[in-house]
């Protein structure tokens, strides 16, 4: 594997990018796993458990790459860090809510993930592109699953529409935090590592907005395509370590066993 950096001064920012990717997947994977035994139907229970394992597996892929660059192991990164050292967006931290919120969050996240991974395909940091190509195979199924549910629930009944719209109202401002600028991001853009979060946000809006409108859901956005303007506040801060109060509980839960016996052999 060729791990030579595209430019010397992009190293710090690149590590931030890898951690943001890994922590989003780890925390959302944990939230998805909370549906195990609780989803409204058995089939979705298993589907979400399956997706939870996939997301955590993707987190491991990014953390392994991080280890190759820094020497810090995935276990140490997952189980020894404090909440403020995590770089996930706040969006993935919120409690799982009702099934409508979960489905909407999963759709908005999976689409962002697809846009993000596709932007890595021609990265100057070759290993990013190779990894993206591998993960996209699973991520496109995740997106198919989530978008299938959004499509069907968006305007199925009065109740499903009401719940899905309520979920959009809550989730949309949170979801914009996925595209918060990383520290040192300009270095990565200049070095051709990825096009930057502004470009990713534009690519994401271009697909999410028409899709939601088609199924009678109204995102807080004016106009379409390139002239699209977001009308709601942005719930960000996660990439700078400013997290919701929910992250601490999740991490306590996730790290509980490890804290009892640090550095175990699984």
């Amino acid at each position: 594997m060729n791990l030579s950096l595209p430019s010397h001064n992009s190293r710090g920012a690149l590590l931030n990018l890898l951690l943001a990717l890994a922590d989003d997947e780890l925390v959302l994977g944990h939230r998805d796993s909370e549906w195990t035994g609780h989803a409204p139907i058995l089939e979705e229970d298993i589907a979400f458990s399956n997706i939870a394992q996939d997301e955590i597996g993707h987190s491991l892929v990014w953390l392994t790459l991080y280890e190759q660059l820094t020497g810090r192991t995935p276990d140490a990164m997952g189980f020894e860090r404090k909440p403020e050292e995590f770089m996930c967006c706040r969006f993935v931290e919120y409690p799982k809510g009702d099934f409508a919120y979960t489905v909407v969050r999963q759709y908005l996240f999976d689409l962002a993930e697809k846009v993000r991974l596709e932007s890595f395909l021609d990265s100057s940091f070759a290993v990013l592109g190779e990894t993206a190509q591998k993960l996209l195979r699973e991520e496109s199924y995740h997106l198919l699953h989530a978008s299938g549910l959004v499509e069907r629930l968006g305007d199925a009944t009065e109740e499903s529409h009401r719940r899905m719209q309520a979920a959009i109202d809550v989730a949309f401002p949170q979801s914009l935090g996925m595209f918060e600028e990383l520290e040192g991001e300009q270095e990565l853009i200049d070095a051709g590592v990825f096009p930057g979060n502004k470009a990713l946000l534009a690519g994401w809006l271009k697909q999410a907005v028409p899709f939601l409108r088609k199924v009678s859901l109204t995102p807080p956005v004016k106009g379409e395509n390139e002239s699209c303007t977001v009308l709601c506040p942005v719930d960000d801060g996660g990439r700078k370590g400013r997290h919701t109060e929910h992250l601490r509980g999740l991490i306590d839960d996730m790290q509980k066993v490890y804290r009892l016996a640090p550095g175990p052999n699984w």
Partner: protein, 93 residues
């Protein structure tokens, strides 16, 4: 209103050229969702190259009450292939 989804019967193929075998059923709102959910239920661990789903209501089946349908009232042992060895391929079990 009945909010229960319909069931779909799921058939799984582990390698191209092998027969699709029946593996179970899933609840789903339509055939496309049924395929996706069948993937999660039945193709997570088993190797799989193809899945079929069929709406359970679309299957025409015999009635257990109507056992005359399968009646064998006279000796039909002459129909059993007992006098020669069938190649293993015909008996994958």
């Amino acid at each position: 209103m009945d909010t229960q989804w319909e069931t779909y019967e799921v058939f799984h193929q582990s390698r191209r050229g092998e027969p699709h075998s029946y593996v179970g059923s899933v609840h789903a709102p339509d055939p496309h969702m049924a395929l996706q959910l069948a993937r999660d239920q039945f193709a997570r661990r088993l190797q799989c190259v193809s899945l079929w789903v069929v709406r359970s209501g679309d299957i025409t089946a015999t009635d257990y009450q109507d056992d005359d349908f399968f009646a064998r009232v006279t000796d039909k042992s002459y129909r059993d292939p007992k006098a020669f060895d069938a190649p293993d391929k015909l008996h994958p079990e």
